[in-house]
Structure formats: C-alpha cells, structure tokens
C-alpha cells in the first residue's frame, strides 16, 4: 500500500487535480446517507431529494433563497474587537477566527441584508452554522442590533434565521451579554411597531434560543430542526434517562405549544410573504370615501383641521 499511497496517488492527483473540479460534487445526506449531486441539492434548497431531510444552509444561500431575484443588499456590519479575552484553549481563539473566516469567506457567524420578499421590503439576519457553529459573540450581537436598526430605518419587518449552538464560549461573559443585547434589539423593533419573525433552523440552542430566537411575534421552524435550551447530552447525563422520541425537534415544540408552525423549506418563502402581508394590513378594511372639502377643513367647533 505504501507505494500506492505515497507515490501513485500524488501523481494521479497532480495530473487530474488542476482542472478546477469542486472537491465535493456529491453530498451525503446527513440523515439517510444517500448521495446527492451538488447541483441537484442546491436546486432543491438543500433538502434531501431522497428523504426530505432539511440540511443546514450557508447564510449566503439563505439570503438568496428568501429575497426576490437580485434585490439582496448585504450590509457591512460594525467592527468589533477580535478576541477580547485573549482566549486560548487547545487553540487560540484568534486562530479559530482566522480559520473560520478563511473557510466561510464571511467575517463572523451572521449576515444581514435588506431587499424585497414578494415585493415587500424586509431585513433579514441569517446565521451561518459553518462559522464556529453559528455561535453568538459580540459581532453576532452587533449584527442583530444593526439588523433591527436597519429595519426601523426602512420601516420594514425583521426576519431572523438562527442556526447556532449558543453563546460563543471563547468570548466568555461578553457572549452571555449578547443574550441581553440581542433582546434589546428585539425590543427596539417591537417598540417601532414592526413585525419580528423568527425562523428557527437546525440547530437553535443554548444562549441563542434563550434570547432573541424565542421572542418572535411569529415563530416558524423548519422540519426536524433541533430547538432547545440544554443540549441533549447534558440532559441525559443530568437525569440519567433516555430522551423521548423526537425530543427538541421542531415538531415536538409545535406539539408543546412553543412555536406557531413548522414549515417545509419549499413553502417558507410563500408563507413568509403571506404572514408579512397579513401583519402589515396595508389594504384598508373599508373603501376610503373622501370628505367634502369644507368638512375636512374644520371640525365641529370650527377649528381648522390639524396638519398631518
């Protein structure tokens, strides 16, 4: 085997390796383990063509999937201090950040964009699980605050797609503080009277679920998504019991009254458009009848109508 692995294989690689072939043409479904051609998978919105399993999507793909045509405008997010604690476990946090940036091509685990969904202007914040498990540190908190403020500025609804294991441990207490900061972002949106919709995707756990993600005016989840506070392993090791079938899955939360609906990815865009349209209620309930000019200009006491 040595000769084959050490000599022949590098040679073959050298011969065929430079043709610009993506290294993963075929994806294995994480649920049924069937192989799916990459184009087929992306055309099917990363839903397994064999078993219907909803796989995780990058933030970029998520934005592209949600917005109309090419209306997407990704905004630049505020700069934050990298590695505020100079955290080091088996690896430096600074190095982990560099690796994640190189791997994903994005600066942190969240992208914020505005655009139109079915002609309705909206702001979307989408998490990218590939970036350190979508974990929430200061940059992500800042992203959510920026998203809320952009939505307020544009008088548009805010839609968030969390996909995150929780708080980013490498930012210590500052990661915990994002639970409060992201909640403040939600309050700002709410106080501005704008809809705040959360689409819970796989996974939404820990500090992310226990803050902005569970505060949606409308809570939607993708089928099969893991949603919960404590990790399944932590619970098992605490209570020494096997967890029930389907525990912490989207359908389980629906059954327990924790979310409004479970919507398959193919229907998600249409559902959101319908919900946004209904919430906005821009069409008046009755036909508008114009008042005669003299009545409109003055009220009963003869005071002039206030300027609007």
């Amino acid at each position: 085997m040595n000769w084959l692995t050490n000599f022949v294989r590098p040679r073959i690689r050298a011969l065929v390796g430079k043709q610009g072939v993506p290294d993963n043409l075929w994806h294995k479904c994480t649920a049924c383990e069937q192989m799916i051609f990459h184009r087929e998978l992306s055309a099917n919105l990363y839903v397994c063509t064999h078993c219907g399993h909803h796989m995780r999507m990058s933030a970029k793909d998520r934005l592209a999937m949600m917005f109309d045509g090419d209306s997407t405008q990704t905004i630049e997010l505020p700069e934050t201090i990298d590695d505020p604690l100079k955290f080091r476990d088996q690896k430096r946090y600074g190095d982990r950040l560099k690796e994640a940036r190189a791997k994903t091509g994005i600066n942190d685990a969240i992208l914020v964009a505005h655009g139109e969904i079915g002609g309705i202007p909206a702001v979307i914040a989408a998490f990218d699980f590939r970036f350190m498990g979508g974990s929430m540190g200061t940059a992500v908190g800042d992203g959510l605050i920026a998203a809320a403020r952009l939505a307020i500025l544009q008088d548009a609804p805010l839609i968030v797609f969390p996909s995150s294991g929780g708080a980013r441990m490498q930012e210590g207490i500052l990661a915990l503080m994002q639970m409060t900061r992201s909640t403040i972002a939600v309050q700002e949106i709410r106080e501005a009277g704008l809809p705040y919709i959360v689409v819970l995707t796989d996974p939404t756990t820990g500090g992310v679920s226990a803050s902005f993600a569970m505060l949606g005016d409308i809570s939607i989840a993708e089928p099969g998504a893991i949603i919960g506070f404590a990790g399944a392993r932590v619970i098992e090791s605490t209570i020494h019991e096997t967890l029930p079938e389907g525990f912490q899955r989207a359908e389980y939360l629906l059954e327990h009254g924790m979310i409004d609906m479970v919507v398959p990815r193919h229907e998600l865009r249409d559902t959101l458009i319908r919900v946004l349209d209904l919430l906005r209620n821009r069409n008046p309930a009755a036909e508008v009848v114009a008042l005669p000019k003299s009545e409109a200009a003055a009220d009963d006491q003869g005071n002039p109508a206030p300027e609007l």
């Binding site: 934050t80 201090i81 505020p84 604690l85 100079k86 955290f87 080091r88 476990d89 088996q90 200061t138 908190g141 800042d142 605050i145 708080a167 441990m169 490498q170 930012e171 210590g172 207490i173 500052l174 990661a175 915990l176 503080m177 639970m179 409060t180 900061r181 909640t183 403040i184 939600v186 309050q187 756990t205 820990g206 500090g207 679920s209 226990a210 803050s211 902005f212 993600a213 569970m214 505060l215 949603i227 919960g228 506070f229 404590a230 990790g231 932590v234 619970i235 605490t238 209570i239 019991e241 967890l243 029930p244 525990f247 912490q248 389980y252 327990h256 009254g257 924790m258």
Partner: protein, 318 residues
C-alpha cells in the same frame, strides 16, 4: 465542623490544633492562651495570604462554598417583613427561585433570588438552585408587579444555571429565560442585581439585566461553568482549572470589562467565615446603588439601562 476547601488545608490544620489546645486540660502549667493566640495569628496570616492570591478556580470553589450566605440568608438578614410570593400562574411554583415583597432600609421593594438550599432536604426541594421555566416565569411576573406598583427590584444571583431536564425543555426553558431577560430590560423601576455566589450562564443573566450589577469579591459569573467549558473545548473535565482562567469569570476581570459596576469586599477568608459582615456589606452596596438610580424618570432609566448593555464589549480587558 466547618468545610475547608482544598487551598485552605494548611489553615484547617492550624485551626484544628487551636481547637485541640482550647479543649486541653493542662492544670494551668503551660500558658495555653498565649500559645493559642500565637497560632491564631499564624492562621490569620495564612488565611489572608491564601485569599490575597486566589486563582479563578479557587474562586469558583469559594463561590460554591456550602456555608456561603445564600439568597435566603441575605433576605433574612437585610429584608424586613419579607412576604414571599409564589407561582407562575400557569403551571407551578418553583422553589429554586425565591421572590417576594419586603422592606429594605425603609423602602418597599421586590426581591428575587436564586436559592440553592442549605441541607439535603432544602437542596432537593430547591433543585440545588437550578430553576425550571416556572421559576423564570415567576420572576417575570414579580418584576411586572414591581413595575405596576413602582417598587424597586433587587435580585440576588446564585445559581449553577437553569435546570437541564425533559420537562423544563417541554415547557419552554429557553422562552422562559428570554422573557425574563426581556422583563429586566422593560422595567421602568430601578433594578439592582448582586451576584452573590455563582452567576451561571443563562440562568443568571435572566435575573441580572440591571441598572447596577454588583458582585461579591469572590463570586464568579460566566457564560458556562468551567467544567462544561473544559469538557467541550478541552474535551476533558480535568481542564476545568484552565477553563476557569480562560473564561475571565472573576469580579476583578468583569469590572475591567465594565460588565459589572461594583465589587463588594468580602471579609477576610471569604463571606462564609463572617456571614453577617459579608451580608452587611452587601446591604450597604445595594442601598448605595439604589440611591444612585431611584428618582430617575422611568423612561430615562430604562433607556440608560439598555444603553449600558449595548456599550458592553467595547472595553478590552487590557
């Protein structure tokens, strides 16, 4: 029999000897009093040395010390006419979070705190201070009640974290914590939080969104327990000591990062050695913090509170 922590072993030995001498019947030949006072001075010196250079991991042990004053002790000591209020009005009462009306230095207040329990019976009843959703929903209810009657809120934080259990998840642990955080940020009345022991993760921040966040000198406050962090990032629980260092969970580091507003000094040898002294200091610090914020218009106070949290993360540690 007092509980000694690992780093207190030399002190334990000395104090044991002192106890022995005190009980010795010598017939008056040797001057025991002199010997005892000499040993006592030495023990005090050792104690002050040990507590002068506690590592983050040592502090984790001190914060979890079984004799440390808990919320219930602080309430007994500081609050008059304490009137506990129970239940979330939806599912059940949760004894892991204690709350109620009371009088603190002549003011009517709402007090909410995590209570771990102090003996087997009370620990079990209070689920070791790990609240279920009902606890957070009760906290939220009491905060709203305080807002309704213009009462300042005092929270005493001391928990390893929210309880990880099947029922807790089914009944929406995450949502309950989120709503409690939201309630803290919605209040128009003053809220002062004190991290008295362990500030464990989401279970702690649910009660600690305050105008003033105070922290006892040897308390810890962290996004995850050092053990949990070690098992995830080091893949070994044995690295808890390293994780405690890396997490920067001490009051001294958190003050530098402006995550907390003030450190409350503990008596020599930690709050568990002189509980009343520690609780008096806690009371004074809470009173001062309340004085700073009482009288500010509700809307302004809330805006200032939010702004304080929004500013966090902009002050580097060095």
């Amino acid at each position: 029999m007092p509980t000694y922590l690992d780093f207190e072993k030399p002190i334990a030995a000395l104090e044991g000897k002192i106890e022995e001498l005190r009980h010795l019947d010598t017939g008056g030949d040797i001057n025991i009093a002199e010997e005892v006072s000499k040993l006592q001075a030495k023990a005090d010196r050792l104690l002050s040395q040990a507590y002068g250079k506690l590592t983050p991991w040592d502090k984790v042990q001190v914060a979890r010390h079984p004799d440390r004053p808990h919320a219930i002790d602080c309430i007994d000591h500081l609050i008059e006419d304490f009137t506990p209020l129970a239940g979330d009005r939806a599912f059940s009462e949760d004894a892991a979070i204690l709350g109620g009306l009371g009088r603190f230095r002549r003011r009517s207040v709402m007090v909410i705190g995590n209570e771990k329990g102090s003996d087997t019976e009370s620990r079990v009843r209070r689920n070791f201070g790990m609240a279920r959703p009902e606890g957070y929903r009760k906290a939220r209810r009491l905060m709203k009640l305080a807002d309704q009657f213009q009462l300042p809120v005092i929270t005493l934080v001391d928990t390893a974290g929210a309880y990880p259990g099947i029922g807790a998840e089914e009944r929406g642990q995450a949502e309950a914590i989120a709503r409690s955080i939201e309630a803290c940020m919605t209040l128009r009345v003053p809220i002062v939080s004190a991290i008295v022991g362990e500030g464990g993760s989401g279970g702690a921040i649910a009660l600690a969104g305050a105008d003033r966040v105070l922290m006892m000198e040897h308390a810890v406050y962290s996004v995850i327990s050092p053990e949990g962090c070690a098992s995830i990032l080091w893949r070994s629980g044995d690295a808890a000591k390293q994780a405690a260092e890396a997490l920067r969970l001490t009051a001294q580091d958190l003050l530098k990062m402006k995550v907390i507003d003030r450190i409350i000094d503990e008596p020599m040898g930690g709050a568990h050695r002189q509980r009343n002294v520690a609780m008096d200091a806690l009371g004074d610090a809470i009173a001062e913090a309340l004085d700073e914020v009482i009288g500010i218009d509700g809307g302004t106070l809330r805006a200032m509170r939010r702004e304080k949290f929004l500013e966090m993360g902009k002050t580097p540690l060095d």
